[in-house]
């Protein structure tokens, strides 16, 4: 939407959009003598906060173990960020792999996870934890040991029917870092929701199944319920929650536990600045992912972890400036005769590699200029790339969206790109292409076109990683040695899109143990307090292990939390 257009929103929606109410909300924790001494508006064994995949998995885990459940969703609708996602969930050694005859060895899995999640700690000669802290390694072990059981249970009970995610070339999906020596199984861990006709579903399909299951099994789901306070008793046990609702403040007693699956803090600009290393501008997370849990949990005395990490994802700069919560991020860069360059006109990575790793490039800092030289990037492609297609590439002959810059020559393109940056100065400050941008860009294209001739990108290995092919079908055969490296034409028109750093959501928060139980600053579990998904400190550390790495962990530890809570006295 351009800045001159308006959306016709309801009054309540407008109030929320304007942040009215949020600023006055006192998020935190309240201590009471005992749960019995308190008057409560409603009671259930387990209260789940949020309604994305992780919260629903918690609810299902609790229901399947005999507990009663209430779910509290802050937004006026259910689904969270899961509802707008592809809905994949990455689970090792799963029953679909077994059915396909794929062996997914435990030690290989742990070695891979340790290597990419904590590369700075990884020690290949440490057979016990591969150099990781024991608590971190234990979570990865639990992920392997329990994940497969849980999705098989969800599949068999109809709570979440699943199937193996397949590539466009009919192969099981590879992991995001299948080229790394530690990755041995590499394919088949990514699963999808199975639709009624047997095809792969999406995040909205997952929510549909989960919600139906929870409601059919007696769970209550309340939208427009923003949890504002965690209620604990004098022993430190979490015994309930307070929420702002359309009917005013209401309290909910949790006989056995509360599970937060309420998402991260991508939509909280202050927390983004305070916690993240990357200059992140927004992302896919729904608008309600504002880090409420972090403020509440601070008053409970939890241990926090991984707050400086996110499920990184590039965004179209103008889109994320318009709405911090974007409909979709830049999962991959389409086109074959296409490159991405920084303000100096230099390439930075394999443009076909996965979104989280491309996004890390935005973090690069130059001590000499005191700048992030890759802060904003420029995707450049030619007319022929439009026949190849792919994400961000406009169909041949179609109207160009306003974020696509076009010019007949590279000289004119440089000027148009600078003009576009200038037009955004009120929101991003002065951002100038380097004086050598054009000359460097021409050199970059010459060098890149040489790679197109040989089929070998000796700078960044474009097209060589298994995941490169997974994300990019080859609809046009130009007879090139490497279909993902096509030469950029000598003549225009040329096109450009400005890219910024964003997230799917953040992945830091309260640290939890193998049961999804939040731990205190001493590492001791806090009775009655659970977390899963992007609301907590992700066991995956710095990495994005594979497609569905977010929901795979969220569902596993959400379900474990529900299961564990349900079994409490």
């Amino acid at each position: 939407m351009s800045s001159t257009e308006t959306s016709r929103v309801s009054r309540r929606g407008f109030m929320k959009a304007a942040g009215i109410g949020a600023a006055t909300t006192a998020l935190g924790a309240t201590t009471i003598a005992t749960a019995q001494a308190q008057e409560w508006d409603e009671t259930a064994d387990v209260i789940c906060v949020g309604s994305g995949g992780s919260a629903f998995a918690g609810a299902v885990g609790a229901l399947q173990n005999g507990a009663t459940v209430i779910m509290l969703e802050k937004a006026p609708f259910t689904g969270g960020t899961t509802a707008k996602s592809g809905g994949g969930f990455w689970i090792a050694n799963n029953h679909h792999q077994a059915a396909a005859g794929i062996v997914d060895n435990r030690d290989d899995f742990l070695r891979y996870c340790a290597k990419v999640s904590f590369p700075e700690l990884y020690r290949d000669n440490d057979s016990k934890t591969y150099g990781l802290p024991e608590a971190s390694f234990a979570l990865l072990e639990t992920f392997y040991d329990q994940g497969a059981r849980i999705i098989k249970t969800l599949d068999e009970t109809g709570a979440l029917p699943s199937t193996m995610a397949m590539s466009w070339d009919k192969k099981p999906a590879p992991d995001y870092h299948g080229q790394i020596a530690e990755n041995k199984a590499a394919r088949g861990r990514q699963t999808s929701t199975r639709q009624e006709d047997g095809t792969e579903g999406y995040g909205a399909t997952m929510i549909d199944y989960f919600q139906t299951y929870v409601e059919d099994n007696g769970g209550l789901i309340y939208t427009d319920h923003r949890v504002t306070r965690i209620i604990k008793d004098e022993t430190g046990r979490v015994v309930g929650l307070e929420a702002e609702t359309p009917d005013g403040k209401r309290t909910f007693r949790a006989n056995k536990g509360v599970i937060f699956g309420s998402g991260g803090f991508t939509q909280n600009p202050e927390m983004r600045t305070q916690f993240l290393r990357t200059p992140v501008m927004g992302g896919c997370a729904v608008p309600t992912n504002e880090g409420d849990l972090i403020l509440m949990a601070s008053e409970v005395g939890v241990k926090f972890g991984n707050l400086n990490e996110a499920w990184n994802q590039q965004e179209i700069l103008e889109e994320v400036l318009e709405f911090s919560s974007v409909p979709s991020g830049v999962f991959f860069l389409g086109g074959d005769s296409m490159i991405a360059v920084n303000k100096f006109g230099h390439r930075m990575y394999d443009e076909k590699y996965v979104y989280p790793e491309r996004t890390r490039s935005h973090q690069t800092y130059d001590q000499w200029t005191g700048e992030y030289p890759n802060l904003y990037q420029v995707m450049i492609f030619d007319e022929a790339a439009r026949n190849f297609g792919g994400m961000l590439i406009p169909e041949p002959g179609s109207e160009l969206p306003s974020h696509i810059i076009t010019a007949d020559t590279l000289e004119a393109l440089e000027a148009a790109i600078q003009a576009r940056f200038d037009s955004l100065a009120d929101r991003i400050g002065t951002y100038k292409l380097d004086a050598a941008f054009l000359a460097n860009l021409q050199e970059t294209i010459t060098r890149y076109n040489g790679f197109a001739e040989t089929g070998k990108d000796t700078d960044f290995h474009r097209g060589e990683a298994p995941i490169d092919a997974f994300f990019h079908a080859v609809p046009v055969d130009r007879g090139l040695p490497n279909p993902y490296i096509a030469p950029i034409a000598d003549t225009g028109p040329y096109y450009a899109i400005l890219l910024a750093a964003g997230t799917l959501d953040t992945k830091g928060g309260p640290v939890y143990n193998e049961n999804g139980n939040v731990v205190d600053i001493h590492g001791e579990p806090i009775p009655g307090f659970y977390v899963a998904g992007n609301a907590g400190a992700s066991p995956s550390g710095k990495s994005y292990l594979g497609g569905g790495g977010t929901l795979g962990l969220g569902i596993t530890f959400g379900y474990l939390a529900g299961e564990h809570a349900a079994k409490q006295a």
Partner: protein
């Protein structure tokens, strides 16, 4: 002066016509239709983050759709009461939006609506006029 009066009259008629159409679409709007929006669309098109200027959140959807020009193709309304084939929304769902001069990707970006879900939306749009009559 006569011209001004005519223009005013035309404007009033347009407003009344629009109001009548809105009311008719409001009556024809069923829970089935909002349910589709809520399950499949609202995560990206909500009041706080109205992607492409569109919120289909409950209580916002009709006002954002009926007789509102598309941001991708200003010559087409998102929903034309009584005429689903002239409604850009339907073309975006059916992947025929490029054929009518639109742009962008088919919606939803993640996933597809079931046939019955698309049918519910088409029936709602086509029924708007029937209700008005």
């Amino acid at each position: 002066m006569k011209l001004v009066r005519s223009a005013l009259a035309a404007g009033v008629a347009l407003i009344l016509g629009t109001s009548a159409a809105m009311a008719a679409c409001d009556v024809a709007f069923t829970d089935d239709v909002q349910s589709v929006f809520t399950k499949k669309c609202v995560a990206c098109h909500n009041d706080r983050s109205p992607g492409s200027g569109l919120s289909v959140q409950k209580d916002s959807s009709i006002a954002n759709l009926v007789n509102v020009p598309s941001t991708e193709l200003a010559t087409m309304m998102r929903v034309v009461p009584g005429d689903s084939t002239a409604s850009y929304l339907v073309h975006k769902l059916l992947d025929t939006h490029l054929d009518v001069g639109g742009s962008g990707k088919r919606m939803p970006l993640s996933g597809r609506l079931k046939d019955e879900e698309v049918a519910a939306i088409i029936n709602w749009i086509d029924d708007c006029n029937a209700v008005a009559e």
